[in-house]
């Protein structure tokens, strides 16, 4: 049954209207991103996500050394097997949209409530929440809602941007992270090529 439902969702996305008028684009995009987010909640393995950022990276993420201003970044490391497995799933989820979209993985940081880190980005380099280059940032209220309630939340705060945030579960049933399915009504082909 679950398989049939997922196939139905896939078909909807693939057969969805490819060319949208400017007026209807945001709402149709939002629907497709919501579908991808919903599927993502079912598909993304939260246990694996929790293995991506290494202990060393977590321990030094907030470390400060006046003599070494790149301390946290230079020690940022990941388990590449876990990273690759989850990233491949995220890329496949992005194919559910009939327009260019990214699916990013965000994880809260143990011991640092109110902070969150982007763990995996993808090839269109889109996110409504990531400030370029930062290892971690402040958690926006919508992310907090997702992590606390398990509900999907759509965010359109930045003009032209649509993100749907959806929970990622581990095998204990805990919400351990969230995915951001994201796109822009008008893509900038040159942004973030740096």
């Amino acid at each position: 049954m679950k398989t049939v439902s997922l196939m139905g969702i896939f078909m909807f996305a693939i057969l969805g209207i490819a060319k949208l008028s400017p007026e209807e684009a945001p709402s149709r995009m939002q629907k497709e991103l919501d579908i991808a987010a919903r599927v993502g909640s079912a598909m993304v393995d939260g246990d694996l996500c929790q293995k991506i950022v290494t202990q060393r990276a977590r321990e030094l993420m907030f470390a400060r050394d006046p003599g070494d201003r790149f301390l946290a970044g230079d020690n940022y490391d990941v388990d590449d097997v876990a990273f690759n497995t989850v990233k491949k799933t995220l890329i496949r989820l992005s194919h559910l949209s009939s327009f260019p979209a990214d699916v990013n993985l965000w994880m809260p940081i143990e011991g640092h409530p109110g902070r969150i880190q982007l763990v995996i980005r993808n090839k269109n380099e889109m996110s409504q929440f990531w400030n370029w280059g930062e290892l971690y940032g402040d958690m926006v209220p919508e992310m907090e809602t997702v992590l606390k309630t398990g509900q999907r939340v759509t965010v359109t705060d930045k003009p032209g941007w649509i993100s749907v945030l959806a929970p990622v579960y581990n095998s204990l049933g805990d919400v351990v992270g969230l995915i951001e399915t994201v796109s822009q009504v008008k893509m900038d082909a040159h942004e973030n090529v740096k």
Partner: protein, 614 residues
């Protein structure tokens, strides 16, 4: 008759004396002494103040001496105590047009860090320049001095001998004339540089910001317009004219590729293929066949190096990493690229397979740039395998695997031997490994090191340290990691220019980039290095290097290296960043703050050798 003669001599002396007095309105300064808008030497250059009169001959003429095939440069400073219009005219007449003058007005940037003015951007102006002081667009209310950069180009086939010219200032109904005497020596500056100086950049979006007027006229089509591609070519051209090269990285840390940096792909898996070269060829064609440089004073030629768009997400989708589909996509598309380049005859350029991403930017799980964790090297090995599979063994197209290395460079030199052929090394850590340049060059690898440009608040000679170090170290080149980013308001709130050696000319009605004083000084330094190196048949290279180092800052060749620290024996993932700083203290202290006259002394040494050769 005798009385007449006496009267004539007296009048002549008065005329000369007046000229000297009047010439205070118009001062020539050597290239290493920058003037501020009030006529004083900027603070970082005052250590070289004793050079102030070095350009003047016994008759108060400006005395210039240079080899052929290059430039001789100096500043001219117009000084007017009160607001006034003026006309400046600089000429060195040469009927054969082998000696040419390029005149630039120096823009005075206000730097927020120290609330002072520094000249840097050079606005091309006609040899006859009419304006007023204070210069209206620079908006310095009490400005009393306007500096100009004078480039005297001496073609390689210029006749030997003396050329006479003048700098003439008309202001307040007075005419001040400064005679110029240019002596052209027999020496010819080699066209080839002994060190490649690279000027790096990322993407193209900054072009739309810096040439906003052009962009706004057609924002939807601008990135595919002729103006856009001509602008990119102009950037390559201005660096080439200044004996440098230019790189534009065409992809982001998660693999997003700018449309003009790659052919268009379609399909997936074994069906993935190139469908269009249109933008790529418009971008790179004139650069790869050299026609973009056809109007250059230097010999037009294809660019020697270029980044490829290859990254973990292009041409193969990372979705298939480690699977047959990844290999199929990578091999098929790279094979097509090789074929296209071969058919176009683009066989004089090194096409760089270079991974710039860092895992901290969350796109991929390994560092392509500055590997710290040895486990990441397995990805390099896999790309080498894929590349070898994609390329015919005897292809005339030069694909070169490049790695930018720091922490783990010593290990990478071993593990990636025969794989990476272009090493771009962090200067600090490379200074631990004195044996490395020779070892790498002997096996046919190209070695560059990298850093960033000095700011305008450093001494004028600071920029010469990088090419000099490359030459002293015996490496092939140096990379300024970012050179096209002068900040949001370089004109009135300048950040100092540590990421810029070039500016947009749009503000001045110039549709191309304009150079800087630092870029000019770097070019002149490269001329001298080429000259010095050309003498290695007469003197040993070591002795030339040792003397140049001593002339520069009284250093020895040993001062340019650090001893191998204990941390070098640890795995690089156990190093501390602060320990690297400690380990490079020796060179930092020995080479700190070269005075403004540092390169002047090296130049004098180079010229004295030319005189000996004669």
């Amino acid at each position: 008759m005798r009385r007449l003669q006496t009267r004539f001599v007296l009048l002549f002396l008065i005329a000369i004396y007046s000229r000297v007095l009047l010439a205070r309105d118009l001062q020539a300064l050597p290239e290493f002494l920058r003037s501020d808008p009030f006529g004083a030497i900027v603070a970082p250059d005052r250590s070289g103040a004793d050079l102030a009169s070095s350009l003047y001959g016994a008759k108060h003429q400006v005395v210039l001496t240079g080899c052929r095939g290059g430039y001789v440069s100096f500043h001219l400073v117009v000084k007017l105590p009160s607001p006034s219009t003026y006309t400046l005219d600089v000429t060195i007449p040469d009927p054969t047009n082998k000696v040419q003058i390029d005149l630039f007005r120096e823009w005075f940037h206000f730097t927020d860090s120290d609330k002072r003015y520094y000249p840097d951007a050079l606005i091309p102006v006609h040899a006859t320049y009419i304006s007023r002081l204070p210069e209206p667009d620079n908006r310095i209310t009490k400005q009393t001095a306007q500096a100009f950069w004078v480039d005297v180009y001496v073609a390689s086939d210029t006749r030997l001998g003396i050329f006479s010219g003048t700098a003439k200032l008309k202001a307040n109904s007075k005419i001040t004339t400064l005679p110029i005497q240019l002596t052209v020596l027999a020496c010819v500056i080699p066209g080839e540089d002994v060190v490649t100086i690279d000027h790096n950049s990322y993407g193209s979006s900054w072009l739309a910001q810096q040439f906003a007027g052009s962009y706004r006229r057609d924002p939807d089509q601008w990135f595919e317009s002729n103006q856009f591609f001509e602008l990119i070519h102009a950037y390559h051209r201005v660096f080439y004219e200044h004996r440098g090269i230019f790189h534009q990285l065409g992809y982001g840390h998660s693999g997003k590729v700018g449309p003009e940096f790659a052919p268009v792909l379609e399909g997936s898996g074994r069906a993935k293929h190139i469908t269009s070269w249109s933008l790529y060829d418009r971008h790179y064609g004139p650069l790869l066949d050299g026609t973009a440089f056809s109007a250059s004073r230097r010999v037009p030629r294809p660019i020697p190096f270029v980044y490829l768009p290859i990254n973990p997400e292009w041409p193969a989708s990372y979705e298939f990493w480690g699977e047959r589909g990844y290999e199929a996509e990578f091999v098929n598309v790279v094979s097509e690229m090789e074929r296209h380049f071969r058919e176009k005859g683009w066989t004089h350029t090194n096409f760089e397979v270079f991974f710039n991403h860092k895992k901290r930017y969350k796109g991929f799980p390994w560092d392509g740039d500055e590997v710290r964790f040895p486990k990441d090297l397995k990805y390099f090995l896999e790309y080498d395998r894929l590349l070898k599979k994609a390329l015919p063994p005897n292809t005339p197209v030069h694909f070169v695997f490049r790695a930018d290395v720091s922490w783990d460079m010593e290990e990478q030199f071993k593990v990636l031997n025969g794989i990476v052929r272009l090493w771009c090394c962090g200067g600090g850590i490379l200074s631990f490994y004195r044996h490395a340049p020779k070892m790498l060059c002997d096996r046919g690898d190209v070695v560059w090191y990298y850093g960033g440009p000095p700011g305008v608040t450093d001494s004028s000679s600071a920029i010469t340290e990088f090419p000099l170090r490359a030459w002293l170290w015996g490496v092939n080149g140096y990379v300024h990691w970012l050179t096209v980013s002068p900040g949001e308001d370089p004109w009135f709130h300048f950040d100092g220019g540590q990421t810029a050696l070039i500016y947009s000319g749009e503000r001045f009605g110039v549709s191309e980039p304009i150079p800087s004083i630092r870029l000019k000084i770097q070019r002149n330094c490269l001329q001298d290095l080429a000259l010095l190196d050309s003498l290695k048949r007469r003197k040993s290279l070591d002795s030339l290097r040792a003397r140049a180092a001593r002339s520069y800052n009284n250093s020895t060749l040993d001062d340019w290296w650090n001893s191998r620290p204990a941390l070098a024996d640890l795995p690089s993932d156990q190093w501390l960043g602060s320990a690297i700083d400690d380990a490079t203290k020796h060179t930092h202290q020995a080479l700190e703050h070269p005075g403004a006259s540092a390169w002047y002394n090296v130049h004098q040494y180079a010229m004295s050798l030319q005189a000996e050769a004669k």
